[in-house]
Amino acid sequence: MELTILRGAQALGSLSMRPLHSPALPRRALWLAAAALLLATTGCRRHQSRTTAHEPVQGGTLIYATDREPICLDPHVQGDMPQVFLAEQYLDSLVAMDRSGHILPWLATDWAVSDDGRTYTFHLRHDVTFTDGTPLTAEAVRANLDHMVDPHTQSSTAGGYIKQYAGTDIIDTYTAAVHLKTPYAAFLEVLAQGFLGIESPRALARPRDENCQNPVGSGPFRIVRWDHQSQIVLARNPAYHWGPPTALHTGPARLDGIEWRIIPEASVRFAALQAGEVDVIDSLPPEAETPAQRNPDLWLLMADRPGNPTNGTLNIKRAPFDDIRVREAFIRSADIDGALASVFFHHYRRAGSPLSPTTPFYSPAFEHHADYDPDRARALLDQAGWTGRTEEGIRTRDGRPLVVHIPLKASLSAAERTLWEQVQATARATGFDVRLENGDDTTILEREGQWDYDVRIGYWNTSTADVLRIVFSSAFLGAAGVGGHHQNEAGFSDPAFDRVVNDALLTTDPDKRRALYLQAQTIAAQNFLQITTYPQSTRLALSRAVHDVRLEPSLNVTSLYDSWVTR
């Protein structure tokens, strides 16, 4: 309390440029002024970083505010973005990835891949212990990989990424041979993601729902407490000296701890940062980006995430998008650049390619393959036979109007919704009747399972170009009997494409993979399967009191391992 008041007094000092600690000032007046300030400006207490510190400071607690609460703290279970943000703070991975997509050692010091590409032998560090005291051994690697693929784990992400996993042999205490059913060149790339972080085998042996509440890792912080819907409290792991090679320092984390707060409302989250209630926020709303840039107390940290960018995937299994000309016409009738400029205040760039620019083996060749071109769109519709017009100007063929159904989930952000309203407006000018159909998430998911949509809005964050296989290859069209759930939302099925993306898994030679993924991107772009809009991105706004926040390269999620605060 006393400390806070003192900071209030300092704040007054810096505001009025007059030393408050002059002995002439009566003590009681000082207390009163401080108390008044405390009431009026609880805010000013945290942004006091003008004290220019260049040397990292030990200690202190950082308050991080995020939009969504993880449903389970163990990222193996389900596996949504909020989980991997938190996993980055308390879990380590077998390997790390750098900015250029190279795989580096981390918990595994080195590894060997068998000639048939189906066995990966990992040699582990000998000096790593989880925060419950369990040592890292080959047994732990086996327990983790087994856990990810166990159907009972309910893993949507980690388990899906290593479907090829067959089992692990323990060679010795610190050597594990991981066997795959088929060669999988993207294996190390996905292992670098926090979704596949390595947890304490002893903690994993507990029931799933118990492990969800307080999973145990070997990372720079450990989870202390989870006040549901409010915050997750983390404390430094003092034994930590096995940080990733991409980190800025070695040894234990500089912060004593982290308070990971959940503030779902974007404007409230930004207001909390401005008021100094929190030190860092993520998912900075687009309307706050300019004010944040102009605020001298704040700085911004942003990066695009690799994977398949935010998009509307066209369902080619039914009319009208079973016709490639109508698909191209629709994509070219949508003025995405204009919409992005107005919705996101010029802060977001267009993503024109099936891969986001930060993805390994991304090619810039397709950024403009389907730019806004209403004249070409109209010509294509004429060719495809959509030559009639209703009174409202909607194109018709054989008397049927050109209708595009786009289901919108209730959880879709307001900005994304507005973006699609703009697409609706520009596509209408070309003669498309775009219907934006709102529904709650489960209703829309059910429609998606039944292929009942023309455009499906989504994205896919992952550290490998193998994402193309997931979203466009025929192996992901969905199995019967499980609610029709499928990942290939376009319904695209092309043997040539399947061959290319499957071949890309057979070789670890980067040049061969690059050539194959170029082919895959070419086929995906030429078939006009998605309106890609903007890359998914991590957008942080930070107090000037916060230093050395890093984005972990494989998914560009926040890492607070190097961070320190000056107060």
Partner: protein, 312 residues
Amino acid sequence: MTHLLRRAAWRLLGGILVLLAAASLTFAALHLTPGDPVTAILGGASANPTPEAIAAARHEYGLDRPIAVQYALYIARIARGDLGQSFSQHMPVIAVLRAQAPPTLALMASSLAVAWLLALLSVVPTARRGAAGAIASTLETVGAGLPQFWLGILLLWGLAFEWRLLPPAGNHGLPALVLPTLSLAIPLAGFIAQVMRESFDLALDQPFILTARARGLGDGTVRLRHALRHALLPCVSLSTWAVGALVGNAVAIEIIFSRQGLGRELFLSVATHDMPLVSGIVLFIALTYILAGLAADTLYVLIDPRLKGTRP
């Protein structure tokens, strides 16, 4: 004594029927709306669940059984006092309630208390006092007409964003409780004050007021000791309704102020069709409502001793 026991038995039976109805309606509502909890849980935006994972989850939660069996098991489970395991939170429902109920109950209690305080301050000094009464009465009508969520956004914008007097979000400390409380209390105060003013006016016309004045009591004493007691009864019944309404309105307020609580939890659990959690929260709200009714009955007797034994 037997009379009292019979009354208590009827009360208990009524309460059980209300809970059963609430549980059944929740079950029906969640099964009639389209959607599947398993795809909601496993099929998030960046999800890649294997068919085996989906089948395993469906089996784990008993969703692969016929609907009548699911209903029977559900009612039997609740009858045993077992609220089950939340699909979406990976926690026992009872643990979710234990964590989320206190902040909502605190918000409800503070809102009800502040609403009563505002209503008393608005009515007691101004009733039958010409212009002051007219102004207060107008303010009460305006207050009662304000939608809580709109008031919440307005208070948030003015007091938290612009003037930064109070924290915009969270559950940390009393200051964070102020804005959500005011958003819920001001409209409720309007309602309570309108009812209170009407019965206060009526009470002031009663012969016993004249008697009291004839005994030489001052105006303040007459108002506080005699008229007010009569004006309170209808406000107490209104407050039982308000307890129910507060939980409903807490959904919007907890979302606007990013507050921890049952309202936000209810919103999230409906979105994921998390049946055990939705029914757990609904049952908790129904129970709160029943208990509020009982508390009101007790208060009636305390305020008006004449009711002892005569009320059905």
